[in-house]
């Protein structure tokens, strides 16, 4: 079943849902990157919760106009309008009051959602069974999705992706360094607006598949995941799109392969799996790599400090330093320095003296700036330069280099 689903063999609707979810994932992942890089990831939470009153009002208006109220395009239009109003409220609160952005986000999302819930109960009283379709916007529901709905989602996702491809350069610039972008004459405010517009579009398109509570995950998790693998913002955008698309596709396939596997949560959990893998395993920014690096670094610091203390005849206070020295064969178990320990200690002290000389010498300014207590002097000066320095400080006697 799962393989069938992966190969888009599960029928027309499932295929459309899978394509829609993939496009949605790509669009959400890359759009979310711009928010994430601007440190405004949770703005998406306010936007998504703010869609609820719009959905309800659109339904009520359509019913009032004589329709059955479940036209997806109409509902999405309503959600977009109320999300936009929510965003305006948020920005107004941040700019015109002393409230910080997090408080403004929380206020907007909870108040709009609360008002949406009020409207839902109003709709419940309007007529029997009418609201059933609306509640699915909370958590998404692809079961029994109409072909036309799937089409709307697929097209919406495609349009969002196309917009990102079109706007990626200016948006990257603005997300990366808004001041610089402004100085270069880019219309930062308008690009910001476009960015928020895209977030809104993604949210609205995602309502039907993952629901308004979980769409946030698709905007946040892929960028955070992608960030582990690269330092380049344009690559983050690309990778985040990939992670999002992958999660959307695999999630939709898994969901289609068995009953009781709701699409939205599965997609979110697939992307969370990608995130956990990246958090732990990514080279560079990953947790394991960072831990190993830290342990290595700690060892270097302690060894270096221990050697300097040995060389200067100072007592060693740290038990860890002593243990590391012992393990490296630099001191004997009774604490006295070994032959090797003495030689290394002498070299460490001599290097420290060399550094001292280098750092007070204006001619070595560039090299001196690299001093951090650990760096080997051989990595910043040539052999001739070191010899020159040694002449200045009197040079070592009887110490192997």
């Amino acid at each position: 079943m799962f393989v069938d689903a992966l190969l888009l063999q599960l029928g027309y609707n499932a295929t459309l849902v899978a394509i829609g979810a993939t496009l949605l994932g790509i669009a959400a992942g890359s759009t979310g990157t711009f928010l994430f890089l601007r440190k405004r990831a949770l703005v998406s939470d306010a936007i998504s919760h703010a869609t609820l009153p719009g959905v309800c009002l659109a339904f009520m208006v359509m019913v009032w106009l004589g329709g059955d109220g479940r036209n997806l395009v109409g509902l999405l239009l309503g959600s977009a309008i109320s999300a936009w109003i929510g965003l305006l409220c948020l920005n107004w609160l941040v700019q015109h009051t002393r409230l910080a952005e997090d408080a403004a986000i929380g206020a907007v999302l909870s108040v709009f959602f609360g008002f949406g819930v009020v409207l839902l109960t109003v709709i419940q009283t309007m007529g029997s069974g009418r609201q059933a379709g609306l509640e699915s916007f909370l958590l998404g529901s692809t079961a029994g999705m109409l072909w036309a709905d799937a089409m709307v989602i697929a097209v919406g996702g495609a349009v969002a992706v196309a917009m990102i491809v079109l706007l990626r350069r200016p948006m990257t610039l603005v997300a990366f360094d808004p001041d610089y972008a402004l100085a270069r004459g880019l219309p930062v405010a308008r690009i910001d607006l476009a960015m928020m517009g895209l977030v809104m579009a993604v949210t609205v398109v995602g309502l039907k598949i993952v629901g308004l509570i979980l769409i946030v995950a698709l905007l946040i998790i892929p960028p955070v995941t992608a960030r582990f693998w690269t330092e380049r913002s344009d690559v983050v955008v690309l990778l985040a799109g990939l992670v999002g698309g992958f999660s959307g596709f695999v999630g939709a396939a898994i969901s289609a392969s068995a009953p009781n596997l709701p699409t939205g949560p599965i997609i979110v959990l697939v992307s969370f799996g990608c995130f956990v893998m990246s958090l732990l395993l990514a080279p560079g920014r990953g947790a394991l790599a960072a831990l190993l690096r830290h342990l290595r670094f700690q060892k270097r610091v302690h060894l270096r400090q221990g050697l300097l203390a040995l060389a200067q005849g100072q007592p060693i206070y740290e038990a860890l330093t002593l243990r590391l020295l012992r393990r490296a064969g630099l001191v004997r178990p009774d604490g006295v320095a070994t032959e090797l320990g003495r030689a290394r200690a002498a070299k460490a002290l001599r290097d420290e003296r060399r550094w001292q000389a280098v750092r007070s010498d204006r001619d070595h300014e560039a090299a001196a700036a690299l001093y951090d207590g650990l760096r080997d002097i051989e990595t910043v000066l040539t052999r001739d330069q070191i010899a020159e320095v040694d002449r200045g400080i009197g040079g070592p006697k009887g110490v192997p280099a």
Binding site: V301, L310, A311, D361, L374, I393, K397
Partner: protein
């Protein structure tokens, strides 16, 4: 210069070695990430004196102070305050953080900030009484801010904020005062007021340590200097440790020659 190698008895030395120094630091290394901000620093602060910690930007001055106070965790090293571990001597230390590290929009008044200095006396639940309020007002008086006691802290100028912080430290009634860049971005009147208070503290036998950035005033303000650029460069009385050589070693090429020569000239005068 030959390098003597003393075969060390590499046993773990007892950290409780008695010392009467108000602040004794041994082998302190602090790093943010993969680069030590402070490397293997020893420091012994002289009691009853005013010491300036000096070094270029990013040389680890504030980090040294924060590690001494237990605000950041060191990678290695020991800190002793009046001959005992820091945790037992908290009541004897007063601290003035950098002004920029605070959210000045916080809803509180000047007097409330100064009363925070009495936290160790008040504890969780003891009521604030007239004596406490009087003490806070006296401290505000010493920094010339008594009239501002009921102002919201966000309404103060930078210099006034700095003076309120100093008043809070005074309220702590400590023996060792640690100040992080108290003169950064303040007006001349404030600078004068602060240095006056610090000198009166010294006259009372208190020890004062200041992270300082203005080389021109070092000689006027301080007894001792501690020069740092990641590792310690020099430590001692201004007359011997604050020289053109030590400055050159601390600042390297970052200090213009003219400046060094000027400072050296004042050093000789």
């Amino acid at each position: 210069m030959s390098i003597e190698l003393i075969a060390s008895q590499g046993t773990v030395a007892t950290p409780d070695r008695p010392t009467d120094s108000p602040l004794a630091i041994r082998g302190l290394t602090v790093s943010y990430g993969q680069k030590p901000a402070v490397f293997s620093v020893d420091m012994t602060v002289q009691p009853g004196a005013m010491t300036a910690i000096i070094g270029p930007n990013g040389a680890g001055k504030s980090t040294l102070l924060k590690a001494a106070l237990g605000i950041v965790r060191p990678l290695s090293g020991q800190v002793q305050v009046f001959g005992a571990p820091l945790a037992r001597q908290r009541a004897r230390i007063a601290y003035v953080p950098q002004r920029a590290s605070i959210d000045w929009d916080f809803p509180t008044r000047v007097i409330d900030v100064v009363l925070m200095g009495l936290y160790r006396q008040l504890g969780l639940l003891r009521r604030i009484r007239g004596v406490h309020r009087d003490r806070a007002l006296t401290c505000l008086d010493r920094v010339g801010m008594r009239d501002f006691a009921d102002r919201q802290i966000g309404q103060l100028s930078g210099g006034q904020q700095q003076r309120v912080f100093l008043a809070r430290a005074l309220a702590q009634d400590a023996d060792l005062y640690l100040l992080d860049e108290p003169f950064a971005g303040v007006d001349a009147a404030t600078e004068k007021a602060i240095i006056g208070v610090l000198k009166s503290l010294r006259a009372e036998g208190k020890t004062v340590v200041v992270v300082h950035h203005d080389l021109a005033t070092v000689r006027d303000y301080f007894d001792n200097v501690f020069l740092i650029n990641t590792s310690k460069v020099a430590e001692g009385p201004v007359s011997t440790a604050f020289t053109s050589e030590t400055l050159q070693a601390t600042y390297g090429g970052r200090l213009a020659t003219v400046q060094v020569d000027q400072l050296a000239a004042t050093a000789l005068a």
